[in-house]
């Protein structure tokens, strides 16, 4: 049944505006003409002065030969820069190297100096506390640390003197 119906349909149902095929020809030609506008231009339209190319060689060769003759020694040449910068570096090194001032390290600080420093500079506990981050001191560090008697005795013998203890 359905097949028979299809056989009966002869056209697609599309149609064109009136006179379409007459006008499409015109449109195509006008497009072709538009493209040919570009095709007609073969030259950009620039020109050069008379004898320009003939005289160019001489002018240019004069220039290249002049440049060869006058050798310019630049102030900031590479070798000059190396000399100047090496002298500057040597002077800088002189001030920066620790030849003249030996910085103290934690190993050679004696307790007295540290004590004096803390007293003279009047460092508050807050300032000292600020040097420790939260992570550094934990309760465990204090609680779990075992002070055995021998250690304490030894410490007191070496570091404490009786006067100081009495004063405290």
């Amino acid at each position: 049944m359905k097949n028979k119906k299809i056989h009966n349909i002869k056209s697609t149902g599309f149609k064109t505006p009136d006179d379409y095929f007459d006008s499409v020809e015109e449109k195509i030609f006008s497009k072709l003409n538009a493209e040919s506008v570009l095709d007609t231009i073969k030259e950009p339209g620039f020109k050069v002065p008379d004898n320009y190319f003939e005289s160019f060689n001489d002018r240019l060769l004069n220039k290249t030969q002049n440049e060869e003759k006058t050798k310019v020694i630049p102030l900031f040449s590479r070798t000059n820069l190396i000399y100047v910068s090496s002298i500057a570096a040597a002077i800088l090194l002189l001030f920066n190297l620790s030849v003249f001032d030996s910085k103290p390290t934690f190993d050679n600080l004696d307790i007295e100096t540290v004590e004096n420093y803390i007293e003279d500079e009047s460092i508050s506990t807050y300032e000292i506390a600020a040097l420790f981050s939260d992570k550094q001191i934990e309760e465990d560090n204090i609680i779990d640390y075992n002070f055995d008697e021998d250690n304490i005795e030894e410490y007191l013998l070496i570091n404490a003197d009786i006067e100081a203890l009495i004063l405290d």
């Binding site: 538009a34 493209e35 506008v37 570009l38 007609t40 231009i41 030259e43 950009p44 339209g45 620039f46 020109k47 050069v48 002065p49 320009y52 190319f53 160019f56 060689n57 002018r59 240019l60 060769l61 220039k63 290249t64 440049e67």
Partner: protein, 180 residues
């Protein structure tokens, strides 16, 4: 015509350099001139840039490695010199390089070394509306008739990209020419 390899050998030798350079000038000055002129537009600027280009070629020929053609190396120098020239000039005049180009196009009407008719002037105006790279590609293909393969070496861009650029450029120019 002298072989490029042979010419290069002479250019890089001390004894024959000047003679070979004259040959090189004869061979390429006109082609490079028109290439530069298409970018900078005015004759005086093109003359400056052409001289700078050949001076640069003369000075740097010893460093030239034959991994590209001498011809495309020279074109590359000419292109770079032209673009540098335009950028410097626009900096000096404190305008953008696009504005400078518009100025150059407007000056063409009074330029004694421009003999183009209305339609040629219109084409120059149309070219000036394109981005820099498309202008280069259009000029090199349309007026200088270079092969895509050579353009690819000069501009260091793939052939496919160049073909696409040229196609877009032609479309834009056609649209400009039919509209205006």
């Amino acid at each position: 015509m002298i072989e490029e390899a042979q010419l290069l050998e002479q250019l890089q030798s001390k004894t024959h350099k000047n003679k070979a350079f004259k040959v090189l000038l004869e061979l390429y000055k006109e082609r490079l001139y028109w290439h530069i002129r298409s970018i900078v537009k005015s004759h005086d600027d093109a003359d400056d840039v052409l001289q700078n280009t050949f001076i640069k070629i003369f000075k740097n020929i010893d460093n030239f490695k034959a991994d590209s053609k001498l011809f495309s190396w020279m074109y590359r120098i000419a292109t770079n010199e032209s673009i540098t020239f335009i950028n410097k000039k626009s900096n000096r005049l404190k305008i953008s390089s696009e504005e400078l180009q518009q100025l150059a196009i407007n000056n063409l009407t009074s330029d004694v070394y421009f003999e183009g008719d209305d339609i040629q002037l219109k084409l120059q105006k149309a070219i000036a509306t394109l981005p820099e790279k498309q202008q280069l590609v259009f000029n090199m293909k349309y007026f200088e008739d270079l092969k895509y393969k050579d353009m690819s070496e000069i501009l260091e861009t793939s052939e496919g990209a160049l073909k696409a650029s040229y196609h877009i450029a032609v479309k834009k120019i056609e649209a400009y020419l039919t509209q205006n």
